[in-house]
């Protein structure tokens, strides 16, 4: 039964990560991404997945999808139903699954975050419905697989598991909220293992939407720069295998890191603009620290939401300044969106995996294009690649609608 819940353990079980998969414009998989993020490599290029000639901005961080998908339990026909976003999700899921060494299961929860799921199929559906109102060829497939629950079920089919499926659509905090929700399920004894993450593919509608808001940078995404002028869009997916420490130890699994804190809060200020003081961001960071039993000075690296828009970065800088208080100069911050763009519903999960890379590799990912840091930033902003002792990392994700989420990971040593 999903409810009533099993008796809550007197002490919440420790939650560890035993697998991680990542797909970004830097490439497929952990190794190539870690190498890229370590030096702050950038992956923007002209948009090719749709006609961007009439868009205000014409570049994005597009993923180069491999010509063949990895071998899974999906039939060729099922593979053909996967749109661009679902293919990225599948690639990240397979990498994570193999790394975790998990096997088929009948009661494994899947918690995913996305903002637009199979939006490209939705766009195709609308164009065909308008252009050929009486022709329904392939329209049922477009309708079915536009819906993110169908994409998620195909991941279950591909990897051979079933169980409760939850899809969080909290705008650009979706991926972080999904991981946070999975963390809650394990800590409260409602699940022993959860596959979780986020995904989003580039789509014309969403790209034009950010263009219409004039939120896209005309000069290149430079988070927290004094002269920043907007964000760059990207696409990708990241998936994590979360499980109790006891479960991981029982099967002698390789542990990548421990997830120790999650906080979430809502900013009621405006649908698309954060409160200038970053009140909700402060709440989510504070809550994550409370759960993790850590103080801000114990956070060795903060992966900021850092979109590069004047409003977001200003509010987040204020929130970090207030959160760290008198210790703010000790806090090391960067934004990896300068490398791969804003991945929307995938951002929180991809940036969580980047945090795992920093913990494993003991380095800080730089925000290379930011040359003159906004004087609002009282913290140390990392613009050059460097090695560092990293025991705890915090990652922020904020979204339209005021969705704010923070996650804290601990080095596994």
């Amino acid at each position: 039964m999903l409810f009533p819940f099993p008796n809550r353990p007197t002490e919440p079980p420790r939650v560890v990560i035993t697998g991680a998969g990542i797909v970004t414009a830097l490439g497929m998989g952990w190794d190539v991404n870690a190498a890229g993020f370590r030096i702050g490599r950038r992956a923007f290029r002209p948009v090719t997945v749709f006609d961007a000639s009439r868009q205000r901005v014409k570049v994005a961080a597009e993923v180069d999808l491999p010509p063949k998908l990895p071998v899974t339990r999906l039939s060729r026909r099922q593979e053909l139903r996967l749109d661009r976003a679902a293919r990225q999700l599948l690639l990240a899921s397979v990498e994570c699954w193999q790394q975790a060494g998990w096997e088929s299961s009948e009661n494994l929860s899947l918690v995913l975050g996305t903002t637009s799921g199979g939006m490209t199929l939705g766009e195709e559906f609308l164009k065909h419905a308008q252009g050929n109102p009486n022709g329904n060829r392939r329209q049922p497939t477009r309708v079915a697989h536009y819906q993110c629950q169908r994409q998620a079920l195909l991941i279950m089919e591909a990897l051979g598991f079933s169980g409760p499926l939850t899809i969080v659509a909290n705008a650009c905090a979706s991926g972080a909220n999904a991981i946070g929700h999975a963390f809650d399920l394990i800590r409260t004894g409602r699940a022993e293992r959860v596959l979780t993450g986020g995904f989003d593919g580039l789509s014309e509608l969403v790209f034009a939407g950010f263009g219409s808001l004039q939120a896209l940078s005309l000069t290149g995404c430079r988070p927290f720069a004094a002269d920043r002028d907007g964000l760059g869009l990207g696409e990708g997916a990241a998936v994590m295998a979360l499980e109790t420490l006891a479960s991981a130890r029982q099967r002698n699994a390789n542990i990548l890191a421990e997830l120790v804190g999650y906080g979430a809060a809502t900013d009621c200020h405006h649908l698309t603009q954060p409160h200038p003081h970053g009140a909700a961001a402060l709440r989510s960071m504070t809550e994550a620290c409370r759960v993790a039993k850590l103080s801000p000075t114990q956070i060795d690296y903060l992966n900021a939401h850092g979109t590069g828009t004047p409003l977001n970065d200003g509010a987040e800088a204020n929130a970090i300044n207030r959160w760290a208080g008198g210790d703010v100069t000790q806090i090391k911050v960067s934004s990896t969106k300068a490398s791969i763009g804003h991945l929307l519903g995938a951002a929180g999960s991809v940036e969580a995996v980047i945090c795992l890379m920093a913990l494993q590799g003991q380095w800080l990912p730089p925000t290379v294009p930011t040359e003159t840091v906004d004087p609002l930033c009282q913290f140390e902003f990392i613009t050059k690649s460097r090695d560092a002792k990293v025991d705890h990392v915090l990652t922020n994700s904020f979204g339209f609608g005021g969705a704010n989420a923070s996650l804290i990971f601990r080095r596994w040593a």
């Binding site: 609308l126 509608l205 649908l271």
Partner: protein, 340 residues
């Protein structure tokens, strides 16, 4: 003092029957399908039959909230249902004494503005409206509702088929049991659009799309209509058909104990009644299906089913009610409500 349970403290509904749960209960008592109207379908001479929500009463003060000036119908439906469910506790949210969470559940979501915005993009992306785009985002209604109520607490938008609403109840119950919040609104909402109707009728040409919202306000309390159980969702993978999943849900519910009311909210793709019949066949107690009266409204319809079960327990002499949801493309799930 009794043992604290998760209680359905209040409910609210906006439906083709009108702008309150009472209007919904009234049409359910009559047991006659509501009349459908025709929605214009571009490119076709005949319209699509739908069941729309009547115009909102202009007396609602919240309609003048600055955040609601340009919102699409789904936000208005969700806000009205949520405020009805919350009742006087809205004051506690506003003054910060009650920590209120929100779980907003959709399948089609903000399709009016999504369709409109993309059509603008197809004409010329350079002139697409920046006012419309933010309203296309799945969590826009939940954000507006949080702003109207002034709640900074945790707020999730869940997307899925009709079962998402029941999973939303489980999510809210989890937050309440962890004492993360003091109360939680769980809302299912949808809005009519020719695009959604067109899509639905590819699978079931007889289906009639409906719109509206249902809201349930959960709190911890000792007495009232309590959430007794939610079955494991039976997802449609590995050869598990919708019928098989629905039967498994029925078995799980039967194991709980006798229930004298049975509500099903089937939304079968090919035969309107097939799944409902499979689940409800030879059920010893009374059964009811709102869908035949109100039409298909995805997550909103699931919410209406739960609200109808709540009303049956609150107003009647029954002790327990089951609600089953055989979703259209994700899972089947069931829940049990009990009067305590």
């Amino acid at each position: 003092m009794g043992v604290s349970r998760i209680i359905l403290q209040g409910v609210g509904a906006v439906s083709p029957a009108g702008w309150s749960a009472a209007e919904l209960f009234r049409v359910l008592a009559v047991k006659q399908p509501l009349p459908a109207t025709l929605l214009e379908r571009p490119g076709q001479a005949t319209g699509l039959p739908v069941r729309r929500v009547p115009n909102a009463p202009s007396t609602y003060p919240w309609l003048r909230h600055p955040r609601l000036r340009r919102v699409s119908p789904i936000t208005r439906f969700a806000t009205a249902a949520a405020l009805e469910a919350l009742g006087d506790d809205a004051k506690g949210v506003g003054d910060g004494t009650l920590r209120l969470g929100i779980v907003f559940c959709v399948q089609a979501g903000c399709v009016n503005y999504s369709s409109r915005f993309y059509q603008e993009v197809l004409k010329d992306p350079a002139t697409a409206s920046p006012l419309v785009f933010p309203e296309t985002v799945f969590n826009a209604p939940a954000s507006h509702l949080a702003a109207v109520l002034g709640t900074p607490a945790i707020n999730y938008t869940l997307v899925g088929d009709e079962t998402a609403f029941v999973q939303g109840l489980a999510t809210a119950a989890g937050w309440l049991e962890e004492h993360r919040i003091d109360g939680c609104l769980v809302i299912g909402a949808e809005e009519c659009d020719w695009l959604t109707s067109d899509a639905m009728r590819l699978f079931n040409p007889q289906a009639i799309l409906a719109e509206g919202a249902g809201a349930v306000y959960l709190k911890r309390a000792a007495s009232g209509v309590a959430l007794e159980a939610i079955t494991d969702p039976q997802v449609y993978v590995s050869g598990v058909s919708r019928d098989l999943a629905a039967r498994k849900v029925r078995q799980d519910l039967e194991a709980i104990g006798p229930a004298t009311m049975f509500f099903n909210s089937s939304a079968d793709g090919h035969d309107e009644l097939r799944t409902g019949n499979d689940v409800g066949r030879e059920w010893p107690g009374a059964t009811a299906s709102l869908r035949l009266i109100t039409g298909d409204a995805f997550c909103a319809a699931s919410a209406w089913q739960v609200i109808a079960a709540w009303e049956a327990l609150r107003a009647g002499t029954e002790q327990r009610a089951f609600v089953t949801v055989a979703g259209c493309n994700q899972a089947a799930i069931g829940l049990s409500l009990i009067r305590v």
